[in-house]
């Protein structure tokens, strides 16, 4: 049971990341690979700030600002220099590796001796329950903030930018600037996830971001499949589906590991799982069409 609670805790730590990826991939239609770098950046900033004794609010804000800056870089390269978004993301991600290494000063840093967001809030005696409570509260704040933003006038302009650029430019929106805002918010959320994970697992590692975009993508696609399956149009329900997606995804991974998959095979398992999730709706619809013939 503890095993699965740990999976849910991990999933909720990934909550902001998945919200961010939903924003960049589904709302803006930009495949943003910066994620791998900005996630680690969030964790690195958290480690540096914790070791210098900064307060929690400062840590959260600085991590998110770092991520936002990384997102701005990708968006600038993509919109101003007119470079493919995928390439822009890879460029910034690669550059961030050196930035992260320089900031951290070494390849990993243990944080167990510092007081974190999870130890700061102590209402429940059991650590897991306490951690879960903090994460549920954070996810709730995130959920309401995101659903407010996406339903606001600004959010409608964001969604329209991903949908039809010529339409939204005709309504007086600078789409290039909109993409900068969008990728900044998206990567700030990704960095927040890095910040949470670093505090939860008690260390920051320079390689912790490798392949994180795929884990996030798997969750977003589960959420998207749910959205299409249930024909959901309302923004809050969509965000709910995405959060459900990340929990389902982490539980699937937990089941796989529980069934005896070797831990060193984790990335391979993740990739195969995402492949399965991506392929299943397509294969499924083909099978349905064939059976109707």
């Amino acid at each position: 049971m503890d095993f699965y609670i740990a999976a849910i805790i991990q999933a909720l730590c990934f909550g902001p990341l998945v919200m961010g990826l939903f924003l960049s991939m589904k709302i803006f239609n930009i495949p943003d690979i910066t994620t791998d770098g900005s996630y680690t950046l969030g964790a690195v900033i958290t480690a540096v700030c914790l070791s210098r004794g900064y307060g929690l609010p400062a840590i959260l804000i600085l991590s998110m600002l770092g991520g936002a800056l990384a997102g701005c870089c990708t968006a600038f390269i993509h919109t101003r220099l007119r470079i493919n978004a995928l390439l822009a993301g890879i460029l910034v991600m690669t550059a961030l590796y050196s930035v992260n290494l320089t900031l951290l000063g070494r390849s990993n840093m243990p944080l167990l001796s510092h007081s974190t967001i999870f130890s700061w809030f102590s209402v429940f005696a059991v650590t897991d329950q306490n951690t879960l409570a903090v994460l549920i509260a954070l996810s709730a704040v995130l959920f309401f903030a995101m659903s407010f933003m996406l339903q606001s006038d600004f959010g409608i302009a964001m969604r329209a930018t991903g949908d039809s650029e010529s339409m939204v430019r005709a309504q007086g929106v600078n789409t290039a600037r909109m993409k900068v805002y969008g990728l900044a918010i998206s990567n700030a959320l990704v960095a927040l996830s890095g910040c949470l994970i670093a505090q939860f697992q008690g260390f920051t590692d320079i390689n912790m971001g490798i392949g994180i975009v795929i884990s996030g993508l798997g969750a977003v696609i589960i959420g998207d499949t749910l959205i299409n399956l249930l024909k959901i149009r309302a923004i809050p329900l969509m965000l709910g589906c995405v959060l459900l997606g990340v929990i389902l995804f982490q539980l699937m991974l937990a089941v796989a590991l529980g069934a005896g998959v070797d831990a060193s095979m984790l990335k391979l398992t993740t990739s195969l799982l995402v492949l399965l999730i991506v392929a299943l709706p397509r294969v499924g619809s083909t099978v349905i069409q064939l059976s109707k013939r």
Binding site: S152, D153, F154, G155, I156, D163, R233
Partner: protein
């Protein structure tokens, strides 16, 4: 209202595919006039519309809107005054957004999009009232996503969206090219009504000679990037369908 002075635009300058799309066009559009542009494919009429809208910039020449030079402004900074309806019905509206959200964007054409909820009950009533004028029953489908509507309905909504705020110029780039004859007639009637009721300065590009003769107060023919024929309201009303067809039969 809108003045074009010696506008030139060349694509692929210096390459083998170099083409002079617009060649020194000078044009004055009076306030409240409805000008129709006809011309063969590649005659430069769509380029002219794009130059006015700001999606491309002229190589030389000036564009004046109410006396102000606008030729260097990007399209999203001209949109407070210049509205347009595209040839492709999918372009003018955002497909995955609801009708209501599309109208919200149109209502904010002249203002910044802040982080506040703008779609309230009063806004819904306003949009529903506007949609009733189309007579398509869309006022009951406010939350439906735009992608589920037909091309004709989407063009009609795009037209209606242009007059949510007071624009001066309306550009219609073959708005009925992708529609069936009945929807095309409906959309043209709606456009005509909106132009007259709001006293807009309109510019219509069309390949349909019946539309060109039936609508508008002025008719212009373009060829090889130049204006070759120009009829005012009086001489235009004397034109016959067959006569206009001969303009295109020069082979």
């Amino acid at each position: 209202m809108l003045e074009l002075h010696h506008i030139c635009k060349t694509f692929d300058k210096g390459k083998a595919t170099e083409v002079m799309a617009v060649d020194g066009v000078t044009l004055q559009l009076e306030a409240g006039s409805y000008t129709v542009i006809v011309g063969a494919n590649g005659s430069g009429k769509s380029t002219l519309l794009n130059l006015i809208a700001g999606s491309i910039y002229p190589d030389s020449g000036k564009i004046l809107l109410k006396g102000e030079e606008i030729q260097r402004l990007p399209d999203y900074r001209r949109s407070p005054w210049v509205a347009r309806v595209f040839q492709n019905p999918l372009t003018g509206t955002a497909a995955s957004l609801s009708i209501l959200d599309n109208f919200r964007m149109a209502a904010l054409r002249k203002s910044p999009k802040w982080m506040k909820r703008g779609v309230d009950r009063r806004f819904k009533t306003t949009v529903a009232e506007k949609l009733t004028t189309l007579g398509m029953g869309l006022e009951d489908k406010l939350t439906q996503v735009m992608g589920t509507l037909s091309g004709g309905q989407r063009q009609a909504i795009t037209l209606l969206m242009t007059v949510m705020t007071g624009v001066d110029v309306l550009l219609l780039d073959e708005p009925t090219a992708a529609l069936d004859p009945r929807s095309a007639r409906e959309v043209m009637e709606i456009a005509d009504r909106i132009i007259r009721e709001n006293n807009l300065t309109a510019l219509l590009v069309t390949h349909n000679i019946n539309e060109a003769l039936h609508y508008g107060t002025r008719l212009i023919q373009m060829e090889n990037g130049k204006v070759v024929r120009d009829f005012d309201n009086q001489t235009k009303s004397g034109l016959q369908h067959g006569e206009v067809v001969t303009w295109f039969d020069y082979y």
